[in-house]
Symmetry: C2
Subunit: 413 residues, 2 copies
C-alpha cells in the first residue's frame, strides 16, 4: 500500500481541527524561558498512551497510568518543563493532582479529563505557586495557533521545537494528524502501553479523525517499535517518558476501527508522524554531530536483533569512534560479540553507507581511505549481519561528543 | 580470619620464585614502545584461566580456551600489545599457533605449554615477521628482574604499569603471589572460567606455592566477583580478556587444596592481589578523574544487585555528573529505576560518602553545599539501598570525561 497522506508545512499539534494550545513562562526555568504548555481539545477526545516502565516512575506518570486505565476520554494535557516531579513522594502525587485540578477548574472540565506531564530535574518538589500561576497564564494564552509555542515550552536541553503534521482523506473527509515531542538526553525510551518502559521524552499526537479507543491504542502500540522505542541517545532511561495520542472526531469520518477500509492509511500517517518526531529527538540529541541508523539483520529472533542493535548503539566506544569519524568496525563487532545474542563469527558482515567493512567476520579489504570517506557524513547507515537467522531490528542513535560531556557534567548550572 | 599476608614493595609477576620475564619492543607500536612481553616459569606450573565470553573472541582466546580444557600445566605466556588478533579469521588462528610454536622452540618446551595473549586494534592481521622477531628478543631478554618491563609491554592506553605481590607463610615455607595487569578502556570484563563474558583487560598472577589444579581454579573463580568481574570503565566488552594464574610449586609447601588448613589464607592473598590489579585498571581508566565504589544492597537477589549496580555504573548520565562533581542523585535513581530489578520506590535510600542524599525515595534534606562537598573527592563511595531484600553487590567504576572522548574519538592516530 502506498502512503496517501501529505505532509503539512509548519504542521503542529494544533493542525487538526478542534485543538488549541499555549506555551507560557511561569518561572520554572531561568531567563523567562517558556516552561508550561497546555493542549486542549474543544470536544472530548479518545485517548491512548504509553509510559515509561521505570520502577521509579514520576508522579505524573503514575497519575497518567491510573487515568488511562480508568477511561480513555481526555480534554486537556498540561506539561511543565524544568522540574520532573520525580522522586518527590506523596507530595509529588498531591502536586500532580492539584495541577490537574487547577486545569480542570479553569477549563470547566473534569480533573480526570486532564493528563499532566513533567520534565526536568529529578527530586525537587514542584513550586506549586508557579505551576498554578502557569496554568492560569496558559489557559488565557490558548490559541488555535499555539502549537509552536507549546512545543517550545516543553523543551529542556532541546535546541529546537519538534513538531509535524500530515493530512489524508478518509471517507471523503480531510483528516489531519499533528504532533509535538521533546527530548535530547536521557533518551532510550522503552514505552509500554498504558495498560509503557524509559527516558525523558514526551510526545503528543493529535488528530481530528474519529477513532475507536481500541484502534487508537493499536496505532500507538504498533508505532512504538518504528519510532520512540527504536531511539537511543545515551541508553539512559527516565522517570517521565510519555507518549499520548488524542482523537477528537471533528473531521466527520466514520469511526476508524481495525476493520475500516482505510485503517491502514490512517496507521501509515500515524506511523510517519511518530517516526518523524522520534527521529527529530535523535537529530537533536545532546551534543550529537552524527545521526546513525543501525540495522541488525540475520538475527535468530527480533528480540536478539534488537538486543544486539541496542548494545552497539549504546557502546560509548562505538559512539566516540563515530564522533571521531573513525571507521573502527572492530568496536562494532566487539560490542555485538558481547551483546549476548547468537551470531556466527565467521559469517559476520558489516556495511557502512553501503561500503563493505567486514565479510565473513574479517576485514572486507576496502582501502582505509575509502572506509574513512564512507563515515565522513552527518547521517550514517550501518548494516550488521549476524548470520544466525533472518530476523532484524533497526535503531536510531547518535554519536557521543565533547559537547555531550559538557552538557551533562554541568546540567544544573 | 585475619589476613596474614604482607604486601611486597615493588612486587611484580616475578616476585615468586622460579619466574623470569621480559618486555621488549618489536615494532608493533610506534616510537619503539615495548610491545612484547614474555613470562616464563623455570618448572611446569599448574594453570587456571578465565576468558571473555564474547561470541567474537579473538584467536588467542580461542586457543587459550582449547589449551586450558586439554591440560592445566604451562611454562610460558607470550603477550603482544598493539594488535588484538581479533576478527582475523583462520589467519589469526594460524598466527597464534605460530607464535606459540616460536616461543616453544626457542625455550625448548612444548607449544601446548605456551599461552598467547594479544591486545590492541581489532581486525588487522598480526605482522608475523615482527612477532617472531619479538619472540626472539624477549627470550634473550628474560630476567628474574623483568617484571616491570613485562608489565609495561602489555599496556595499550594504560598510563602506567600495574603490578603487585604479597607473601605469606604456608607450612612454614614462604609463599609469594605476584601479578600484572593491563587495561584502561573497553573494560567491563565478565570472565568465565576457561571451562570467561568481556573487555580488553589482561591479568596474570604467578605464585611459587604448590597448588592443585582444582584449588587454583577455585581461587581464580572465587576472586572474579571481588576483582575483574566487578569493574567497568565504559561498559564495553572486548574480544581478548584473559585472566591467568600459574603456580609452579617452588616454595616447597604441601600441595594446597581446599582441605589444606591454610587454604583460606592463600585465597585471601590471591583475592587481595586480583582485587588490587582490578582496582588499578579502573584507577587508570581512560580519562578517569574519579574512582567510584558503588554498592547496591537491599536487593532481592545478588544478580539483581549486580544488574542494578552495573546499570548505574555504566550510565553515561551518572558518569558525566560524577565528572562534573554534581551530586545529581536523581540520575542514579533514574538509572536504578530502569535497570529492570525489583525495588521499592518509597524505600530507596542513597548515601554518597556517607552523606544522606535520599531517604524513603525522596530528597534526604542534606543542604546542597553539603551534597557538593561530599562529591568533591577523587574516590567516591556510593551506597544505594533498594528496599527489596537483603542481597548486595559492589562495582568499581570511574567517571566519563572530555579526555575519554578525546582518547576514543582518535584511538588510531
Amino acid at each position: 500500500m502506498n502512503s496517501v497522506f501529505s505532509i503539512l508545512t509548519d504542521g503542529t499539534v494544533v493542525s487538526p481541527r478542534g485543538y488549541s494550545a499555549a506555551g507560557v513562562a511561569a518561572g520554572l526555568k531561568r531567563n523567562n524561558q517558556p516552561d508550561c504548555a497546555l493542549l486542549v481539545s474543544a470536544s472530548p477526545a479518545t485517548a491512548a498512551a504509553a509510559f515509561t516502565d521505570s520502577a521509579v516512575a514520576a508522579a505524573p506518570v503514575l497519575y497518567g497510568r491510573d487515568l488511562m486505565s480508568s477511561g480513555q476520554v481526555l480534554r486537556a494535557v498540561f506539561v511543565n518543563s524544568g522540574n520532573a516531579n520525580a522522586c518527590t513522594g506523596d507530595q509529588g502525587w498531591r502536586d500532580t493532582l492539584a495541577t490537574a485540578g487547577a486545569v480542570a477548574r479553569q477549563l470547566r472540565i473534569e480533573p480526570n479529563e486532564v493528563l499532566v506531564s513533567s520534565t526536568g530535574r529529578i527530586g525537587v518538589p514542584l513550586p506549586m505557586d508557579k505551576i498554578i500561576a502557569g496554568v492560569g497564564k496558559a489557559v488565557r494564552g490558548l490559541s488555535p495557533a499555539g502549537g509552536e509555542a507549546a512545543a517550545a515550552a516543553i523543551m529542556t536541553t532541546d535546541t529546537r521545537p519538534k513538531t509535524a503534521a500530515a493530512s489524508l482523506e478518509i471517507d471523503g473527509c480531510q483528516v489531519t494528524v499533528g504532533g509535538m515531542a521533546k527530548g535530547a538526553g536521557m533518551i532510550a525510551p522503552k514505552l509500554v502501553a498504558a495498560s509503557a518502559r524509559q527516558a525523558t521524552m514526551l510526545a503528543y499526537v493529535t488528530t481530528d479523525a474519529k477513532v475507536s479507543g481500541a484502534f487508537l491504542e493499536e496505532c500507538l502500540c504498533r508505532s512504538l517499535d518504528l519510532s520512540f522505542n527504536r531511539i537511543t541517545v545515551d541508553g539512559d532511561g527516565s522517570t517521565n517518558d510519555t507518549f499520548l495520542a488524542l482523537a477528537n472526531g471533528q473531521a466527520g469520518n466514520h469511526e476508524l476501527t481495525a476493520e475500516h477500509p482505510q485503517a491502514a492509511e490512517f496507521a501509515a500517517a500515524f506511523n510517519w508522524l511518530a517516526g518523524y518526531l522520534a527521529r527529530a529527538i535523535v537529530l537533536d540529541g545532546e551534543g550529537a554531530t552524527r545521526f546513525v541508523e543501525l540495522r541488525v539483520h540475520g538475527a535468530a529472533t527480533v528480540a536478539e536483533a534488537r538486543q544486539c542493535a541496542e548494545a552497539v548503539a549504546n557502546s560509548v566506544l562505538c559512539k566516540t569512534a563515530w564522533f571521531g569519524g573513525d571507521p573502527n568496525w572492530g568496536r562494532i563487532l566487539a560490542a555485538a560479540g558481547c551483546s549476548g545474542v547468537r551470531l556466527q563469527p565467521d559469517r559476520l558482515a558489516l556495511n557502512i553507507q553501503g561500503v563493505p567493512m567486514v565479510r565473513n567476520g574479517v576485514d572486507a579489504g576496502t582501502p582505509l581511505f575509502e572506509q574513512e570517506k564512507a563515515v565522513a557524513t552527518d547521517e550514517l547507515k550501518i548494516d550488521l549481519a549476524l548470520g544466525a537467522g533472518d530476523q532484524e531490528f533497526t535503531v536510531w542513535t547518535c554519536d557521543l561528543s565533547y559537547e555531550y560531556v559538557r552538557i551533562n557534567a554541568d546540567y544544573r548550572t
